[in-house]
């Protein structure tokens, strides 16, 4: 088939790419060099390297890291046990369904549950700890984030485990490996791709979810996403917002490279 002349489908698609993929990224980069009055400046970048912003970036990464690790530790056993159930596809579907519910509604549910008189505090009262301030703390932020990201972590790990050839596990057992050794040397390395893509799916949004910090942690936790939203929509300092966005994009690319899968050709 002749290429150029035949491929008319390229036209709308390339226009879409140019307009909505390439241009926006370039515009973000462009805006990061302007201050709030529209003057060309490197001030935003200098400001980013002051302790205030560095501390915020660091804490944002720390929270994202915690969220990813906790989600992983809960998800892996879940995915593993799911592959052992009968009707595993059905159970998987049931795990996935909560991820289809609007994220804001889940956050809103936790406002009720974690509230001063909510279910969580009644529970603490019953077991004798007494009520505590739960909403608007780092704990609530991490808990709700983990809750929201669980299905996204479970799915890729489940798929990886599902593809795993069971005879490899049998072979390992037959050769006298303990269950832990089998896991460590056979199962985990072979499902590493799933773990990587799960971490990628969780870590990047965890850096940038601003509605959760607003609703659940009451501005106690400021992530990169919160800072961008703040600059764009509240203080209207687009330049600074764009600068933070540039660093978020850089972080994103780094994570993609770090967790990148081996190239397996196209799809």
């Amino acid at each position: 088939m002749k290429t150029r002349s035949r491929n008319i489908y390229l036209i709308p698609y390339v226009i879409w790419i140019a307009l909505f993929v390439v241009t926006p990224i370039l515009l973000v980069l462009y805006y990061s060099f302007f201050d709030i009055d529209g003057q060309f400046t490197f001030e935003n970048y200098k400001k980013f390297f002051t302790p205030v912003y560095l501390k915020m970036t660091f804490s944002s990464f720390w929270y994202a890291f915690l969220i990813t690790v906790i989600t992983l530790f809960i998800s892996y056993p879940t995915a593993y046990l799911l592959t052992k159930t009968k009707h595993k596809q059905l159970w998987l579907l049931l795990i996935i369904i909560p991820s289809w519910i609007n994220l804001l509604l889940k956050a809103y549910a936790f406002i009720g549950i974690f509230g001063t008189y909510g279910a969580a505090n009644s529970f603490l009262g019953i077991i004798g700890i007494g009520s505590k301030q739960i909403l608007f703390t780092d704990f609530s932020f991490i808990f709700v984030s983990v809750y929201i990201f669980l299905p996204f972590m479970i799915l890729p790990i489940f798929n990886a485990l599902d593809e795993l050839n069971p005879s490899l596990v049998d072979a390992s057992n037959d050769l006298g490996a303990s269950r832990w050794t089998t896991f460590q040397r056979v199962i985990f390395p072979l499902t590493l791709d799933g773990v990587k893509s799960g971490c990628q799916i969780v870590f990047i949004p965890a850096l940038s979810l601003f509605m959760l910090t607003r609703l659940i942690s009451g501005n106690r936790v400021i992530t990169l996403g919160t800072a961008i939203e703040q600059h764009f929509l509240v203080t209207q300092d687009w330049g600074m917002g764009a600068t933070i966005a540039v660093f978020l994009i850089i972080a994103m690319v780094l994570i993609m490279v770090l967790t990148g899968k081996r190239k397996r050709g196209i799809l």
């Binding site: 709308p12 909505f20 515009l27 809960i74 609007n102 804001l104 809103y108 929509l233 196209i266």
Partner: protein, 267 residues
């Protein structure tokens, strides 16, 4: 395979409980005649009545539905063109470049997409409102459709196209009589995904919506920021039911995917 131990069963039950409890907690209190999410007074349907009497909210629901349907339709058309463009790209470099660019919007955090689109629309001079939200939703749905449709095209037997061409079919005939019927399940799956992405999106919409135009997610956010109001609970129960219907719909579409093709080409 070994039978699941008791401990594992308990672990899975706890997981499912945690995943579903908040959702049912919300739904439960939507029937509360009290005003709060912690003291259940008596059963009532008042919140639902109020919901259906709220014209403003009904208009917002309508807006959301129109945006979702329009953006899903347009992005499906663009996405199918995109998938065909990638399929027809003979050189591997072009193909990989297109695929990477396609994936940029899928992995980008919503905040970045929202902020960069806000800059884009302001630069071009598109007034923030219906049009900007629609364009943004189309833009971020296209790559998802491409991802859903492309595998279907790739698995298609090329000799079918050659056969059609040899038998004198025009390019248009090849597209409408051979390719499109074959990839229909993929197109439907892509359309559904685009629909749910649009319905679910909050962050991007929040950036480009401006004053005066609101979608459901944005409205829920601004309501939730003001605290608990059982209106939202009633709304979320309805949305949950609706989401379940979508899931069932999607399930049947993907099931059709696995059925042998009408033409029986796959055997």
């Amino acid at each position: 395979m070994k039978k699941i131990s008791k401990l594992s069963t308990i672990y899975l039950i706890v997981m499912f409980f945690i995943l579903y409890a908040p959702i049912f907690y919300l739904m439960f209190y939507s029937f509360n005649s009290g005003e709060t999410m912690y003291q259940f007074e008596s059963f009532t349907l008042d919140w639902y009545k109020e919901l259906f009497g709220n014209t403003r909210l009904l208009i917002i629901v309508l807006n959301t539905a129109i945006i979702a349907l329009l953006s899903a339709t347009i992005s499906t058309i663009l996405g199918v063109a995109g998938a065909l463009a990638i399929y027809y790209a003979r050189r591997r470099r072009v193909k990989n470049t297109l695929l990477s660019l396609n994936n940029v919007l899928i992995v980008s955090p919503d905040v970045i997409i929202g902020a960069s689109f806000l800059i884009l629309f302001t630069m071009i001079g598109i007034k923030l409102g219906f049009i900007s939200v629609l364009l943004a939703h189309i833009a971020f749905s296209v790559p998802i459709v491409v991802i859903m449709v492309l595998p279907k095209i790739e698995e298609m037997n090329t000799s079918m196209i050659y056969a059609a061409l040899d038998l004198g079919a025009s390019r248009w005939n090849v597209l409408t009589k051979v390719i499109l019927p074959y990839i229909t399940p993929g197109i439907f799956a892509g359309f559904f995904m685009a629909l749910t992405y649009s319905l679910d999106d909050f962050a991007v919409t929040f950036f480009v919506t401006g004053n005066g135009f609101t979608t459901l997610s944005v409205e829920i956010y601004s309501l939730a920021r003001r605290g608990v109001s059982l209106n939202i609970n009633a709304l979320s129960s309805l949305l949950f039911v609706f989401t379940m219907l979508l899931v069932v719909g999607y399930y049947f579409i993907t099931k059709r995917n696995n059925r042998p093709n009408r033409l029986g080409v796959r055997q």
